[in-house]
């Protein structure tokens, strides 16, 4: 799936800052043509891993290959391939959006005509054409994020590393981002996205790597995530009938005292079991008004890891 010449392969990467072990042991694979999500709580080593992949940080041990190239041995080679969007909003305030992009393009060795054409194209892509000549300081946070994304794409990189790209984006821009990332993946690029917005990732990502306290704890595809044990929330009118029916099938349920309405939460092994339960309830004349997974597939994994930790 991931060959030597494309995508990202990380084996047993470790990196510490003084006494702080930011990355203890991370295995990570991101094949070309797919969007790989990097998921973990704050301080779990996501940003550190992305810095390592972007050739800014060296690993203490372990092996890293980006597009088949070792970033420590040949950082320039990696930089030609990689577009990196940092989580911090570094910006040149007085430069116009166009200048931000052309300056970055120049530093990637693009010719003046090439980078100007590409910059205009990208400003259109991220819907910032009206700010082409405006200084970057007038942009809102979400617009800054989009400009930062365009900057990462300026040299048409084969590998895209995005650190929290969705933060600060309005819902419309999130949909745009999702479409853009899917398009890039479809064109054979390797896309890595770190994010906390797990429901977003459900729809964008093909696979996910979970990191916790500097270790990669789980790696799964979205299909796998969809087929794992999940919690479902069920509501019915009246709830008594639902309770009786669930008890009748020997299913354990938990009452969730939500502020607005009471709902029952059950654990289901698979989507097949969910389908069976819904059919059973409907056939038993329980007036089901809501029947849905308690969270996204990735969120389920995330929460299960979270509870493991405690």
């Amino acid at each position: 799936m991931t060959n030597e010449f494309g995508g990202i392969v990380v084996h047993a990467a470790a990196r510490s800052f003084g006494s702080v072990q930011a990355v203890r042991h991370i295995d990570f694979e991101a094949p070309p043509g797919e969007v790989t999500a990097l998921i973990g709580p704050n301080g779990s080593g996501k940003t550190t891993l992305l810095l390592i992949l972007a050739s800014l940080l060296a690993v203490d041990s372990g092996s890293v290959r980006v597009g088949g190239i070792d970033p420590v041995a040949d950082p320039q080679g990696v930089r030609r391939l990689v577009g990196w969007m940092p989580d911090s909003l570094g910006r040149w305030d007085s430069l116009s959006a166009l200048e931000v992009l052309t300056t970055t393009g120049a530093l990637y060795g693009m010719s003046p005509e090439e980078r100007t054409a590409r910059a205009h194209e990208l400003l259109e892509t991220v819907s910032l054409t009206e700010y082409t000549r405006q200084p970057a300081r007038v942009l809102s946070r979400g617009q800054q994020q989009r400009l930062s994304l365009a900057r990462a794409l300026i040299h048409d990189p084969q590998v895209l590393l995005l650190d929290e790209p969705a933060s600060g984006l309005d819902p419309g821009s999130r949909v745009d981002l999702r479409t853009l990332l899917r398009t890039l993946a479809a064109a054979g690029k390797t896309v890595v996205v770190s994010s906390h917005v797990l429901s977003e990732l459900d729809e964008i990502a093909d696979r996910a790597v979970f990191v916790s306290r500097g270790e990669s704890v789980r790696s799964q595809t979205l299909d796998e995530a969809g087929n794992q044990v999940r919690r479902y929330n069920i509501q019915a009118e009246p709830m008594d009938a639902l309770a009786a029916e669930l008890s009748g099938h020997g299913m354990r349920f938990e009452e969730r005292g939500d502020s607005r309405r009471v709902e029952y939460q059950v654990m289901l092994d698979s989507t097949q079991q969910a389908a069976w339960l819904l059919r059973t309830l409907v056939l038993a004349d329980v007036a089901v008004t809501a029947f849905a997974p308690a969270g996204g597939a990735l969120e389920e994994t995330y929460m299960s890891l979270d509870t493991d930790r405690r």
Partner: protein
């Protein structure tokens, strides 16, 4: 959002970044930000007002001198150097860590830009930024020149040396800014280094003279006015001075062998500039001892020329034979010693180069060792 997937005209892995283009881009980036900010213009305005005030004040107070051109010229050069040493650290010493604080350094580092190109671009931009201050003082330099008495060669060498000194201070500032994490610290550290060069060298030199004191026989001459004994009884209210005589005495006294420690002064920016300029004194204002012990046609040296004379004096070592002319304040006739300014430039360049080298090592990526409490991005 949709992104065109057409193959770029150039394949991505064929792109290379030439050093010229890299340095030019960083320079352009810095200059654009500086020109669009307000701070630089305010500093330029303040500078212009202060130089103008000093110049006009000097012009007014020294108006009584016959030949004020060289004095004023010297004063302006000295003052511009003094102010330049104050301004250049401010323009250069946050070049790199300012970007680090703003989160834009990593964005540059992740491109094909190398640390050397980054430092070169930053240095060039801060140098050009501080040269603007020199350009702004040019009207006064040329005004002083127009008053006459200063050959154009002296003026242009002075300007060249000023530009060079600003460049060196900027290099020191950029180097420190790449080493230190916080802009405030690096600016203060750069000021300290400039103070070390300007004042520290003087203090070291002064303290070291005690170490090079030796006893030596010194012949001292001075003019005296013999008062004939009969004059004491003279009733005339004004004593008639006789012809002054040059009296010579020889003592054994401690002398400082300054020629052994003058090199300590070499790295002083004022010494470098003063020493590099060939001061030409026409025979007319070189001064000569008049018949009556008065010095005629003597023009006292300006600030910078004075420094130059003093340094040459130190280089020559103790004066074992103080002539009568010297006792009148005329410059001692010192054999042309080797110029000291190349040594000064060398020492300053070594300091700047060393700091830039350390900065370069801090900017290399992928980073292996990261200073405590810093983030890359």
């Amino acid at each position: 959002m949709s992104v065109k997937m057409q193959q770029p005209p150039q394949m991505a892995d064929e792109r290379t970044l030439s050093t010229r283009s890299a340095v030019g881009t960083v320079f352009g980036l810095e200059m654009r930000q500086r020109l669009r900010g307000r701070a630089w213009y305010i500093m330029l305005a303040v500078w212009f007002v202060v130089i103008a005030a000093v110049f006009l004040l000097a012009l007014a107070t020294m108006g009584s001198y016959m030949d004020i051109g060289p004095m004023l010229f010297d004063l302006v050069v000295g003052f511009v150097l003094f102010f330049g040493l104050l301004v250049a650290p401010g323009l250069s010493a946050n070049a790199v860590n300012g970007d680090r604080a703003a989160g834009t350094l990593a964005v540059l580092q992740v491109t094909l830009l190398t640390p050397g190109q980054l430092l070169a671009g930053k240095w060039l931009a801060s140098w050009v930024g501080s040269l603007a201050f020199l350009v702004l003082s040019a009207p006064f330099i040329f005004w002083a020149l127009a008053l006459g008495g200063v050959p154009a060669s002296e003026a242009f060498i002075s300007l060249g040396m000023l530009a060079l000194e600003l460049g060196l201070v900027c290099a020191i500032g950029v180097g420190v800014s790449a080493i230190a994490n916080r802009p405030l610290f690096s600016i203060v550290a750069t000021y300290m280094l400039v103070a070390l060069l300007s004042l520290g060298t003087l203090i070291t030199f002064g303290l070291s003279t005690a170490l090079v004191m030796e006893e030596a026989e010194v012949t001292t001459s001075y003019y005296s006015y013999p008062m004939p004994a009969e004059n004491l009884d003279d009733q005339s209210p004004e004593p008639q001075p006789g012809d002054p005589e040059c009296t010579t005495e020889t003592f054994v006294q401690p002398v400082a062998h300054t020629e052994r420690i003058t090199w300590m002064l070499a790295a002083n920016p004022f010494v470098v500039v003063a020493d590099a300029v060939p001061y030409s004194r026409s025979a007319a204002d070189a001064g000569q001892s008049g018949d009556f012990g008065y010095v005629e046609n003597y023009r006292p040296p300006g600030v910078m020329e004075g420094i130059s004379q003093q340094v040459r004096n130190f280089q020559a070592g103790p004066d074992y034979n103080v002539t009568c002319a010297e006792s009148q304040g005329l410059a001692r006739d010192v054999d042309d010693k080797f110029p000291i300014w190349p040594l000064g430039l060398l020492l300053q360049s070594l300091l700047a180069g060393g700091l830039l080298l350390l900065g370069y090592r801090r900017l290399r990526t992928p980073v292996r060792r990261l200073a405590q409490g810093t983030r890359i991005a």
